[in-house]
């Protein structure tokens, strides 16, 4: 039956048109990005400057002295102390790993217009994410909600096939279609990324306030992909759960749009770290200063929440009267 769902889905021209359109825009975007890119020299969000690794010991000593000499009565004492301690922790880490300044960039210190694999992949990911969200909504409409507008539901659910089984197959179809399309866009991205050279080897991020870590740039690129994959999966689960609860195409589109506005626009306005990390893919949240532990915690909560919502949607749909 899943094969039948595929065949039916691809009979709707809009699926192929949307997919081809997205890939074309992706290519156009990459060319445009390359042409408008600049190079940059500031790779640290924090005030980190050193000529070579040997200088770092001196910097560490200076910073330790600065912290000791701080005026405890200063109204900004806590803030200044925190900044100095953060810088100190970065210097200690760099010293421990003997890394030259030009080989490391701090996330948050990389200019979006610079030409390196991280910025290009992030730009591509932004576009891929938005396109895949649109595609998820289109596929859900064609796979599921439209059956209730056309009356197909009377046949489909009026047989001795459990509703859960039918819905599970529809969800698996959605999963596979989106996965295939996503892999395709990743291949296109890879093709775009390969010719771009990196001018540093390590990325520095904070696990918690005073705990910086160094990540190899290639591993960081994989983090970006994983992060976007996770976000796509979350949206897929969320929108499918909404469709199960709402069913009608128009209502589903309205509620999906409202949910997107809430998650992507309204939550970030709060500037709250938890809400921010709920809104964006987790790697992107690190760029705006949210530390890794909070981002991971929020992501796990988000995943659990959406999966519970999907399970609730399935149970509710299974027990619901299907009326016209």
């Amino acid at each position: 039956m899943m094969k039948n769902e595929f065949i039916r889905l691809f009979k709707y021209p809009i699926v192929m048109i949307a997919a081809i359109f997205i890939v074309f825009v992706l290519l156009f975007f990459s060319i445009n990005h390359k042409m408008n890119s600049t190079t940059q020299s500031i790779y640290f969000d924090h005030s980190i400057y050193y000529e070579n690794v040997e200088d770092i010991t001196e910097k560490i000593t200076d910073l330790e002295n600065d912290i000791l000499e701080l005026d405890t009565n200063d109204r900004y004492y806590e803030q200044i102390k925190k900044n100095l301690e953060e810088n100190l922790s970065i210097y200690k880490l760099l010293y421990a790993n003997s890394i030259e300044q030009e080989n490391v960039a701090e996330i948050g210190g990389i200019n979006d217009d610079s030409l390196n694999r991280i910025t290009v992949l992030k730009g591509l990911s932004d576009f891929i994410l938005s396109s895949v969200i649109v595609l998820i909504i289109i596929v859900i409409v064609l796979l599921f909600t439209r059956d209730f507008d056309t009356g197909v539901y009377k046949f489909l659910y009026g047989q001795n096939v459990p509703r859960i089984k039918i819905v599970r197959k529809k969800f698996c179809t959605l999963l596979l279609v989106i996965l295939c399309f996503y892999i395709l866009t990743l291949f296109v991205s890879l093709f775009i990324l390969l010719p771009i050279q990196n001018d540093f080897d390590y990325v520095l991020i904070f696990i918690s306030d005073l705990e910086p870590v160094l990540i190899d740039i290639n591993i960081y690129l994989i983090y970006i992909i994983l992060s976007v994959t996770f976000t796509i999966f979350s949206y897929m689960v969320l929108f499918f759960a909404i469709s199960l609860l709402i069913r009608r195409t128009l209502s589903f589109l309205v509620v999906s749009a409202a949910t997107l506005i809430l998650i992507q626009v309204l939550l970030p306005l709060s500037k709250n770290d938890i809400l921010l990390s709920f809104s964006y893919p987790f790697v992107f949240t690190l760029d705006i200063g949210v530390n890794l532990s909070l981002v991971m915690l929020t992501s796990i909560i988000k995943a659990i929440l959406f999966i519970v919502l999907l399970a609730y949607g399935m149970i509710k749909f299974n027990k619901k009267n299907i009326t016209t």
Binding site: M1, I7, P13, N160, V161, K320, N321
Partner: protein, 279 residues
């Protein structure tokens, strides 16, 4: 014997009781007619049997019987052809092309459903149901928009399916034209089954005899008062189900055959001592 048993079925939708305490048993090899005025709950009962209304109270015992049905205005995916729709909706089909042929869909079955007329959609719906070969077949207004040829084909196939031991439930407004021998007729009124109570409500059955001789013979031996309407028709007031009444005379050889059909107003009994229409 295969059967569906419905016990104390009550369905409430939007706070209103649509079906009230329904108790019926439907047997394999039977064609069951479901009648009632608009809003009596016919479609709701069929939808409940088909599993579209799972919030009912009571029991529907279908055991392991497979089922499928068409409800009013059956829907299809417009971008798919008729054949693709059937393949999408049915996990297994048997004799699919035979039914496509019977309903004269061969030339259209590969066209997109969006190009179909209402009658063609109805025929496609019937092909979809018959080709699935399920144990229970449910039809809600199956003759809607069908031409005479397709209607006849439907009746032939229903009779064939009946002999294949299927349970067939048909809801229609035009029973007198169907030409199907119903084994049971269920009359729904305001969500209640009143088939056996109809006689108590109306107390009147019209019996059409094959000829005047049969009528006179029956009148002379009947212990109920018959009111002669014309040379072949009489009316009788009954306080018992018509089948029981007629069975008594059938056993004693006074009537050789009888058949009950129904129109929207009253039961119509066709009876006689001899003929082709044997019970």
């Amino acid at each position: 014997m295969k059967s569906i048993e419905i016990r104390n079925l009550t369905l409430i939708l939007s706070g209103k009781a649509i079906l009230k305490q329904i108790n019926i048993k439907l047997y394999a090899g039977h064609v069951i007619g479901l009648v009632g005025p608009n809003g009596s709950g016919k479609t709701s009962l069929l939808k409940t049997i088909l599993g579209l209304y799972p919030t009912y109270k009571g029991e529907i015992i279908k055991s392991t019987l497979s089922y499928s049905g068409i409800l009013e205005e059956p829907g299809f995916s417009p971008f798919l052809s008729g054949l693709e729709n059937i393949k999408y909706l049915c996990e297994n089909t048997s004799n699919l092309w035979e039914y496509i042929n019977k309903f004269e869909m061969v030339n259209y079955i590969k066209d997109k459903v969006s190009t179909y007329s209402q009658g063609m959609r109805q025929r496609l719906a019937l092909v979809t149901i018959f080709a699935q070969d399920k144990d229970i077949l449910i039809f809600d207004e199956p003759l809607n928009a069908l031409d005479i040829k397709a209607k006849k084909m439907f009746i032939n196939i229903v009779n064939k399916k009946k002999s294949d031991n299927k349970i067939i439930v048909i809801s229609s407004h035009i029973f007198e034209d169907l030409g199907i021998e119903f084994d049971n007729i269920i009359l729904l009124h305001e969500g209640k089954v009143i088939d056996r109570e109809l006689s108590l409500i109306q107390n009147r059955y019209t019996i059409k005899f094959k000829d005047s001789k049969d009528l006179l013979n029956f009148k002379s031996k009947c212990d109920h008062e018959l009111e002669i309407i014309n040379s072949v028709t009489a009316e009788v007031h009954l306080k018992l189900p018509p089948e029981t009444f007629l069975d008594k005379y059938s056993k004693s050889g006074i009537v050789g055959f009888w058949r009950i059909s129904m129109n929207q107003r009253y039961f119509e009994v066709l009876a006689g001592r001899s003929g082709n229409d044997e019970k």
